[in-house]
């Protein structure tokens, strides 16, 4: 059937492939950002507290917003009990680098450092090349232990094992106790080159933090939210400022909360996706429709004969839909392959990462992705073939046979 009109078939397949490619780039990007992918393996059960706003009780327009302060964490969030795991850590900003050097050497490196607690290593799942993370006792004692990324360990110590070597971070001497496989910058909460306990920094009570709560049990969640509101009430009773916690948000909502004083709008996030996918599917669909109408027109006599032998309207309708679905699936498959290359090519734009680091391949080859491709193909096919198929099924037998 495809061979009947090679040129038009090719054009239809290219059109489908292009549409599927664009949609898949969006879906795969979204998957990488939202699915449980190591090291961030608890995204689906995580609740994020990144920022809060403090409004003055006296002056009306005076407020300050920023990361979670240690005071709020230590004295107020400690009342929250309905969770399975929780961690407190500092965010890693792309423009904030720390000076790192080995022993007394004056060759300095500028690397991001993440300060975290011991439970961070339970919430995240890192792949340790050698060594281990720091534990609760070492964290409490404020031992200067650090974990490095594989890349940094190689740069600092060459081929030698980095374990038990010492390194200067913030002018303090740290012992390397672990080396982890490099983490892509697409992981907002896992990425870093150096990890250290926050208790080792002299002014850790002044730092700004993010907190993640992992709650497996769905029933606990409403209680958890209730406790968070209690935290605000207690704070407002004790302090000079009125506290509004920005969250806790689930993983998708926290992606929208990129500024400390902006509340993410779920409806807008969805609207954006709907709008973009509409543009990407409707325009090729109009294209494909007009081609398959011409194709159906040419086959008027075939349809007429089928009808004369008793085929029902419904089966004619399904026949046209099936045939077009075949083209759509070929196009979809090509589109999926193209989308791999596009994501790799455009990753800096899609994920706002700066260096050429790797994208986790899991996101591309998963049953969910194949299911999405199939669904998008069916959707595109439905939009583009429903009119031609309906027309074909409603053709008048006498007229169509008469054409011969």
């Amino acid at each position: 059937m495809l061979k009947q009109n090679k040129f038009v078939s090719a054009i239809s397949i290219i059109g489908t492939a292009l549409a599927i490619m664009m949609v898949m780039v969006i879906i795969v990007t979204d998957q990488i950002k939202t699915n449980n992918i190591a090291p961030e393996i608890n995204r689906n059960n995580s609740f994020y507290l990144k920022y809060h706003i403090e409004k003055s009780k006296e002056e009306e327009n005076s407020y300050s917003s920023g990361c979670v302060t240690y005071n709020v964490y230590k004295n107020y969030l400690s009342d929250v009990k309905s969770y399975d795991m929780a961690t407190l850590f500092t965010p890693v900003w792309s423009d904030e680098k720390y000076i790192i050097h080995v022993n007394e050497s004056k060759i300095r490196r500028f690397e991001p450092v993440r300060l975290c607690d011991a439970d961070y290593w339970k919430v995240m799942s890192f792949d340790f090349v050698e060594g281990r993370p720091f534990n609760q006792i070492e964290f409490n004692d404020g031992l200067n232990n650090a974990v490095l990324s594989e890349r940094l360990a190689k740069e600092l110590f060459g081929k030698e094992s980095a374990l038990d070597k010492t390194v200067y971070i913030f002018k303090q001497l740290y012992k390397v106790i672990g080396v982890v496989k490099d983490v892509s910058q697409t992981f907002e909460f896992a990425y870093s080159e150096v990890w250290a306990p926050y208790t080792t920094v002299p002014n850790f009570e002044e730092e700004g933090y993010h907190a993640i709560y992992v709650i497996d049990d769905k029933d606990k969640r409403s209680l958890f939210y209730e406790e968070m509101r209690d935290v605000e009430r207690k704070y407002n009773a004790n302090e000079d400022w009125n506290l509004t916690l920005q969250g806790p948000y689930n993983h998708r909502l926290q992606m929208g909360a990129s500024y400390s004083n902006v509340k993410p709008e779920f409806v807008l996030i969805i609207l954006k996706y709907v709008f973009i996918i509409a543009i990407l599917l409707v325009i090729p669909a109009i294209n494909l429709s007009s081609f398959s109408i011409s194709a159906v027109k040419k086959r008027t006599e075939e349809i007429g004969i089928r009808k004369a032998f008793g085929a029902r309207n419904k089966s004619i309708l399904l026949q046209v839909l099936y045939e077009n679905l075949f083209t759509a699936i070929i196009g979809g498959f090509i589109g999926l392959i193209l989308s791999y290359f596009t994501v790799i090519w455009l990753k800096e734009w899609l994920f706002n990462v700066t260096t050429g680091d790797s994208i986790p391949l899991v996101a591309f080859v998963s049953p969910a992705v194949f299911l999405y491709v199939f669904l998008v193909c069916v959707l595109l096919n439905l939009i583009s073939s429903i009119v031609p198929a309906y027309k074909a099924s409603k053709m008048n037998i006498v007229l169509s046979l008469n054409q011969k």
């Binding site: 054009i11 007009s290 706002n352």
Partner: protein, 437 residues
Amino acid sequence: MLKHLFKIIWTERKVNAWILVELILAFAILWFCCDYLLYSTQKLLEPKGFNTEHTYIIDIWNEDEGLFEDIDYEEMEEEEFNVGYTNARTIVSNWSDAIWEIYDRIKRHPAVEHASLSLYATPYAGSYAGNTFWFDSISFGAQIKKVTPEFFDVYQIDILKGRKFNETDDITENNIIISGAQDNIYKKINFLQIDTLLSYRKESKYNVIGVAEPTKRLEFENYTPAVYLYLSKSDEQLIGELSSFFREFSVRVKPEADKNFAESFLNDMQSQLEIEPFFLASVIPLKDRRSEYMQIGEYSNGFKSIYSISAFLIINIVLCVMGTFWLRIQSRRSNIGLRMALGASKRSIQVFFLVETLLLLFLASIVAFLLCININEILSEILKEIELPIIGRSEFGAYISNYLITFFIMAIIAALSVWYPAKKASDIQPVEALREE
């Protein structure tokens, strides 16, 4: 010929309806893309007020940054506080001396033509300080830039009236240089006529000693009115909190020496600029600063979104025009054969197809144009809400230029895509085509 073409378009209206709908939709979306690109190009063509060719930022870090943040003065006894305060004063004056020494050493590097030291003043700087000023009874906000006199040489910012800073301005504190927006006019104030400004609370008075040409923070933005203050040696903002982020050593390199400057400067000066606790961290070309600013300001992403949507639309238009006309030739083989048998040349057949395509595009563009100007405001509101980069202008001049450019782009694409089917059509042998009849 036109009348005949309209007749053909009408008889094939069922197929043409599809191609028209597609062209209308594509035209309408491409219209917004062109609007964005056109607006950006216009902004880009305006003089930006500075020149960053051969300029670099010398990034000097302080290993003891944040030293003062750790000290909690509130909990100190009075005596302890006094000692701490005296110590702090010593450190501050040592650091200050070190910074100006580093500045002198940078100036002495043979490749450096001009060097300046400034606070939150360089082009493409992410940091911004602003204040409100009064001129007569009108108040306006302006960016505050603290600079050494050489700043205007490094970035080649012209002084349109009056003079640049010189050392005497260090003593007479309230001398300033100002610049306005487009044509040095802002809020209907002509900056060239300002002699004195009052501060926000009207407690201090500034003498305007010069008016500089207006500058932008980035090419694609509007001009920002600015007030330049003389950066004095005793300015403590140079060493204060987070200062390494605001403190800017900039250099203009002699054009002939601008080869591998960053690398060779790093090698030459590493040890010379190491004055405890300061050290040379990196040398950043201004064009890197620019792309960083574009990234943070979402300009890069905006352009990429626009480019990819435009590319997608253009490919679809190509496929649509090619496919539709390919099918049309097949159904009109006999028609074409007859025309050729009656003496039509190959060329005239091709022109016939071309004009038919352009005519369809023209019809679509008129509908899309009316659609665009009527839903412009609503649609651009929606598009803005979902964070697509949209300008959303509603000036008649912009409509016309947008229309022309969008039509021009689409016409070229449509003409190119109809070429192959048209050529195929003109290759038809009249005899064969007629025999099929």
